[in-house]
């Protein structure tokens, strides 16, 4: 498979004030194959948007090279702009134009028409077509997202960049949105998406974990989970906040985070289930529940982040 996006040692810094300097991206390399959904995961300020802006030719990197669809990001700006679709994190369509006018406008920007590629966006567009006369500013969050996706797809790009496409969108719309992405991939489109939602990460073909401008892990979700060999337990009891503190004080505790109804604790060698149960019983926790756990992407991410933090 040829790589659709090839990034080699791309770096970028921003000046802060007169003397300050933030390294948004450390030299970073990555290959994304054609027809792949690649998920970019990382906390706010990790450098995800910077990478998107570089790849969509909105920003020039300090160093390194990259090609998008085979085109150089420094030399073939126009070619890249013709062949990629970009959906920024913030809703950025014309709020005072109607749904249809927005679509037609973006179609014209790319020298095409709504009719020419109607079939391509039909699946998504049918969701919002009943509201085509409505101003974009008056749409609901999920609808806006679908319109933005339609606008990014109207010129039938080969590569799609989605910067946190589902942030602030309800779970049902998020599910629908990912189903649409799956269908687009089936058509051979390469998709690079960033997301703060770990459950969405599981839906990607590969994910890259990014922290402070560095990749701290990059693999398929299955492989990432398989690499997580540390024992992991889910623990629940009454008094959850005291439980979290006490779990962190446990002598074999490697790390412990709150994950909804349970606390997930990863453990160092020497630990045994009996020892942990005994420790907690001595602390008088009632309705105690402990069971082994298959790692989620979030567990992997937390562990890698802690490791990354320790290395830095």
């Amino acid at each position: 498979m040829p790589s659709s996006i090839a990034i080699h040692q791309i770096s970028k810094h921003f000046a802060v004030g007169k003397t300050g300097r933030v390294q948004a991206l450390h030299p970073l390399s990555l290959d994304i194959e054609e027809g792949e959904i690649f998920g970019l995961l990382g906390p706010d300020g990790a450098g995800k948007t910077t990478l998107f802006r570089i790849l969509t030719t909105l920003l020039l990197p300090d160093g390194g090279t990259a090609t998008v669809g085979g085109y150089d990001i420094r030399k073939d700006l126009k070619k890249i702009r013709e062949s990629v679709g970009y959906m920024p994190g913030r809703f950025s369509l014309y709020q005072d134009l109607s749904v249809e006018e927005n679509l037609r406008f973006f179609a014209t920007l790319f020298n095409t028409t709504l009719e020419a590629h109607y079939d391509f966006i039909k699946d998504i567009y049918t969701h919002i077509e009943p509201f085509k006369k409505r101003k974009a500013g008056n749409l609901s969050g999920g609808m806006k997202q679908k319109l933005a996706l339609c606008c990014a797809l109207i010129h039938k790009p080969r590569i799609l960049f989605l910067d946190e496409p589902t942030t602030g969108v309800d779970p049902v719309s998020r599910k629908e949105f990912w189903d649409m992405l799956k269908r687009l991939r089936a058509d051979g489109m390469t998709i690079l998406a960033s997301t703060p939602y770990m459950d969405e990460a599981e839906l990607c073909d590969r994910i890259g974990l990014i922290q402070n401008g560095r990749f701290i892990g990059c693999n398929t979700p299955e492989q990432l989970r398989a690499e997580f060999t540390v024992p992991l337990r889910a623990v629940r009891a009454t008094e959850m906040s005291r439980l979290l503190r006490d779990l962190r004080d446990y002598r074999y505790c490697r790390s412990c985070y709150a994950f909804g109804e349970f606390h997930h604790i990863s453990l160092n060698p020497g630990f045994s289930d009996e020892d942990l149960a005994g420790y907690l019983q001595r602390l008088h926790f009632s309705q105690l529940e402990i069971h082994p756990l298959a790692p989620t992407i979030e567990d992997c991410f937390m562990a890698l982040m802690q490791k990354g933090g320790a290395d830095a």
Partner: protein, 374 residues
């Protein structure tokens, strides 16, 4: 070309949907032209004058009556003491005091020479100086009248220059009507506001909404994007001028003495210059607030140093040098010359090239300053 027309269509749609902007385009010229020419008048009338007549003679009474008859002065008191008159000045009730000393008539008839004292409240400098010069003129014509009637002998000491009489003839604005002078200036102000402010806000608002980023990732060339921004404001600007000219005609009876074509040629180039200026601000600023503030800063300087209110020729030399770089100054000058004097294009070629120069510089600068890749 199809893309460009579509960009243009989108700009028009957005402007036409913005009701406040639409209302302003009609209201701005109407209200400004209806109000400002009256407010910005330099003609000083109704100066409050206190006359202290210590002479109580026929001549002093005649002088007082003559002053009272003038449309420039309101007599607020007469016959009291100087101290009483000064009190009126302190209370703000009088601007000028004319004191006629005892024996005024006697001195004048016997010695052809008599003193009068004028005291001026100089807090409002313009009113004070203009008032005292009006008063001097009336006093001169009063004495000249007396000489003509043979009531007093001609003062020898005054010399020959007193015999020279100056009769000014005011050309192009025979009545020295300030409205005729102000209206062309206000028309220029309207063009500047529409071109400069609206354009300055436009691109920045796309920046704030994030739509500019979407345009930037598209293959649209920046020149056609910017041109599509300029044209609507250009049309709106010229429309505003048309409304303004109609109002000037029906409200003040001001009909341009020169050709409308010349006027519009200048206006067209000028609006291009100012939309370019607005775009330049818009490219530099990050938020609408910033661009608004920058636009106001420059517009105030352009207006106040453009000869709108005060003549450029009376500014200090360094300030006059600054006005060479003020496109508004050229157009105010040109519009006054066309409207009042009827100057033709041939008379205005230097100004034309100056304004054209600004149009080229601002727009080229805006295009180069606007970088699709940050």
């Amino acid at each position: 070309m199809r893309t460009f027309l579509f960009l243009l269509e989108k700009e028009f749609k957005q402007i036409l949907r913005n009701r406040i902007i639409l209302a302003m385009i009609i209201a701005l010229p109407t209200i400004q032209l209806a109000i400002l020419p009256h407010a910005a008048t330099y003609e000083i009338r109704h100066i409050n004058l206190a006359v202290v007549d210590a002479d109580h003679s026929t001549l002093s009474a005649e002088l007082t009556a003559k002053l009272n008859a003038s449309r420039y002065f309101n007599l607020v008191s007469d016959g009291t003491s100087y101290e009483d008159a000064l009190e009126l000045v302190e209370d703000g009730k009088a601007h000028l005091i004319l004191e006629i000393p005892p024996h005024f008539e006697k001195d004048l008839r016997l010695a052809s020479k008599a003193g009068l004292m004028i005291a001026v409240d100089a807090v409002d400098g313009t009113m004070g100086s203009i008032g005292s010069s009006y008063l001097n003129q009336i006093l001169q014509s009063f004495t000249a009248g007396l000489v003509a009637r043979g009531e007093i002998a001609y003062p020898e000491a005054a010399g020959p220059q007193a015999r020279i009489q100056v009769i000014p003839q005011y050309r192009y604005n025979t009545q020295l009507d300030y409205k005729t002078y102000m209206v062309p200036g206000i028309l220029v102000m309207l063009l500047t506001l529409v071109g400069g402010i609206l354009a300055a806000l436009n691109i920045v608002s796309e920046k704030e909404q994030g739509t500019l980023e979407q345009i930037n990732v598209s293959p649209v060339p920046k020149q056609s994007y910017l041109l599509a921004k300029v044209i609507p404001f250009w049309i709106i600007g010229l429309l505003t001028l048309a409304i303004g000219l109609l109002i000037a005609r029906f409200l003040y009876g001001i009909v341009p003495a020169g050709s409308l074509l010349t006027l519009y040629t200048f206006a067209a180039v000028y609006v291009v210059a100012f939309t370019g200026f607005g775009l330049l601000i818009s490219v530099a600023a990050k938020t609408q607030q910033q661009s608004m503030f920058i636009a106001f800063f420059f517009l105030l300087i352009f207006f106040l140093m453009g000869g709108l209110f005060t003549p450029i020729s009376s500014m200090p030399y360094w300030a006059q040098v600054i006005t060479w770089f003020n496109p508004t100054a050229y157009l105010i000058d040109v519009v006054r010359l066309i409207v009042m004097k009827g100057s033709g294009f041939a008379d205005l070629v230097p100004q034309f090239f100056c304004i054209l120069g600004f149009a080229v510089v601002f727009n080229v600068w805006a295009i180069f300053g606007y970088d699709k890749t940050a």
